[in-house]
């Protein structure tokens, strides 16, 4: 049982015009087994929240706390956070030239477990996870994200989710750019991880269609750097119908 607590999180970035405040007091608690959906207009700070949890150096935490099972996440380096059980499926996964998927995955698994996985088991797990995600086996010989299509990149993120078995996963628009079949395949992957490891999920999305496959327990409306409203799955339906106008007006 893991708990990720985000308290009064304020985050800014350095821009050419000086410091820019993006997150303005985010409060959120995610527990193992729970699925939270975060929806909000472009530029409202959703990815900033995701990156801040993962520890991207670009984002400066100016106030607030992030705790994982009571431990101060903000004091951890990026890799320590991952080893503590946090995972970020990125909106724009990065290409790493010359590093093969198979080498990358094995290195990551070894780093997380503190020892190299048993070869036969690992090969078996990898093969199975890839078959489940309908990924060609020759993918492992390709360089990380290099020349991957948008959908392939997202599958690759979920492949990592399944193999690396984190406690809490943040999925930043994992559903964007996926066709209907891929959406289903990727959702199944997330649901498998939820079932087998009691994963807690924070799912950033613009669309309710993924919520048909991955059922959220909570929906948060994210506007102008904080959570403007929270509710159950019905809130997502309402957002789809009405948009964010209501929040933006009251905010102004």
């Amino acid at each position: 049982m893991a708990t990720l607590e985000i308290k009064n999180l304020h985050v800014s970035v350095d821009t050419d015009q000086g410091k820019k405040q993006i997150l303005r007091g985010v409060d959120l608690v995610i527990k193992s087994g729970e699925t939270h959906a975060v929806m909000g207009p472009n530029g409202s700070g959703k990815s900033t929240l995701a990156y801040s949890i993962a520890g991207h150096p670009k984002y400066e935490i100016t106030d607030g706390e992030i705790l994982l099972d009571g431990e101060n996440v903000l004091e951890m380096s990026v890799d320590e956070r991952a080893r503590a059980g946090l995972f970020l499926a990125m909106q724009y996964p990065v290409e790493v030239p010359g590093v093969s998927v198979s080498n990358f995955l094995r290195t990551a698994k070894t780093a997380l477990d503190g020892e190299a996985p048993k070869l036969r088991e690992w090969v078996g797990d990898l093969k199975k996870a890839m078959t489940n995600l309908r990924m060609d086996s020759d993918f492992t010989e390709r360089n990380v994200n290099e020349g991957f299509s948008g959908g392939e990149k997202k599958r690759h993120e979920i492949l990592q989710l399944e193999l690396l078995k984190p406690k809490i996963a943040i999925l930043d628009e994992t559903d964007s750019g996926l066709d209907v079949d891929a959406l289903k395949v990727v959702s199944e992957g997330v649901n498998r991880a939820k079932e087998t490891t009691d994963l807690g999920v924070l799912m950033i999305t613009h669309y309710t269609r993924i919520l048909r496959y991955i059922k959220p327990d909570f929906v948060h409306v994210f506007v102008a750097g904080k959570i403007a409203e929270q509710g159950g799955p019905e809130l997502a339906e309402r957002l789809e119908a009405e948009g964010y106008d209501r929040y933006i007006k009251t905010d102004a």
């Binding site: 991207h56 995972f87 990065v94 590093v99 990358f104 990551a108 780093a111 690396l164």
Partner: protein, 385 residues
């Protein structure tokens, strides 16, 4: 006629000179004393030359070169005034001329005609003192032969070297020159290659250690259908100055040249220089040529100079291009790897290995690749990246 020679305005030191106008001579007095005002010595840290510019020096002795021959390959020391010495190229600069004059003996390594071996022949030159020494190697690959030759430089030394490589018609040769010197060493190596009709040379330069290492490989493509691949990998830390100047001279028709050098630098004071010259002469119809240099700077305070020069004297070519770039570590790549639990040092190692991989894998000789990967690991380990 299009000319993309050395840009005069970039330093204002030398007049624009096309690459083939440089004088050739085995006599040091035909060349100016070395100074940084001449383009070819422009970047050189003179204080690290360890006397390699002195007109008189002793030569490498037979006992300092360990020779491990593959079947079909022979080696002997011959008089440097005898044939075939000088048939692959003649000095274009002062240190090369000095080395030429001071090496009275030449190590002649011959691959028999029509012979084929997959085992590499290795020549290991190790020195144990900083006094300047001259060395001359001649590699002759007989017609339609196929061989691999590795020239390995190790120990502590100051070496002025000429390497000549001559390929007969239809010969295929992989030649690797490894510079893995200990601290304090200086090495200036001029490597002339001349390719026979339809022959193919893979020329690989690996620079890992030495306070001053300067390798200038040139290819005279004066027989039709020749194919040269020049690859280079280097890893420079604070103590290293590495300079590589590949030069491809397209003279005959339908030749192919491909140059790709990649280097990683780390630590304050690490300095690498790459100047790639390609000259496509009026006679070189049907040429296909490409040159590339990329540098990865792992820390602040290191410097990579990269200058591709392309001179084209005929429009009737298949293609000619170049690319050159030097960049810092990509923080986004590091973040991505670290976000999967991989430590910063391991992530950096993955990125560096990945960066060099493109060239390393082209070496295509298992033993050399393994050794290269091990050296890269060791280098990265040493400086704690």
């Amino acid at each position: 006629m299009a000319q993309h020679g050395i840009e005069p305005h970039s330093h204002g030191l030398v007049p624009l000179q096309t690459r083939n106008e440089r004088p050739r001579s085995t006599s040091a007095s035909d060349f100016q004393e070395i100074n940084n005002r001449q383009e070819i010595w422009r970047y050189l840290p003179m204080e690290r030359l360890n006397g390699l510019d002195a007109e008189v020096m002793s030569e490498v002795s037979a006992s300092e070169v360990a020779i491990d021959l593959a079947p079909g390959v022979t080696a002997q020391w011959i008089d440097s005034s005898a044939a075939p010495v000088g048939s692959a190229g003649l000095p274009e600069d002062r240190i090369s001329a000095i080395a030429w004059t001071n090496a009275s003996k030449t190590l002649l390594v011959e691959v028999a005609e029509d012979s084929e071996t997959t085992n590499p022949t290795t020549l290991t030159l190790s020195l144990e003192g900083l006094d300047a020494r001259a060395f001359h190697l001649f590699v002759k690959a007989g017609a339609n032969s196929k061989a691999t030759i590795v020239l390995d430089h190790a120990g502590t030394g100051s070496l002025a070297e000429n390497v000549e490589i001559l390929l007969g018609a239809g010969a295929k040769l992989d030649f690797v020159s490894i510079q893995d010197w200990d601290k304090g060493s200086a090495h200036v190596s001029t490597q002339f290659t001349r390719l026979g009709r339809d022959s193919a040379l893979k020329h690989v330069v690996v620079s890992l250690g030495g306070d001053l290492v300067r390798v200038t490989p040139s290819a005279a493509l004066d027989s039709p259908g020749a194919d040269i691949q020049m690859f280079g990998v280097y890893l420079a830390d604070s103590s290293n100055y590495f300079e590589h100047r590949p030069y491809i001279d397209h003279i005959a028709e339908n030749c192919v040249s491909n140059v790709a050098y990649k280097g990683a630098l780390q630590g304050a004071g690490a300095h690498t220089v790459w100047v790639g010259d390609v000259l496509i002469r009026e006679t070189a119809v049907g040429t296909n040529s490409y040159e590339l240099n990329r540098n990865l700077l792992l820390t602040d305070g290191s410097r990579a100079d990269s200058v591709p020069n392309l001179e084209i004297e005929t429009g009737k070519i298949e293609g000619a291009g170049h690319a050159s770039a030097s960049g810092r570590f990509d923080d986004e790549q590091l973040f991505y790897l670290m976000a999967r639990g991989i430590s910063e040092s391991e992530a950096k190692r993955l990125v560096v290995r990945g960066f060099l991989h493109e060239v390393v894998q082209k070496v295509g000789i298992a033993e050399v690749e393994d050794r290269l990967i091990a050296s890269i690991e060791q280098e990265l380990e040493q400086v704690g990246v």
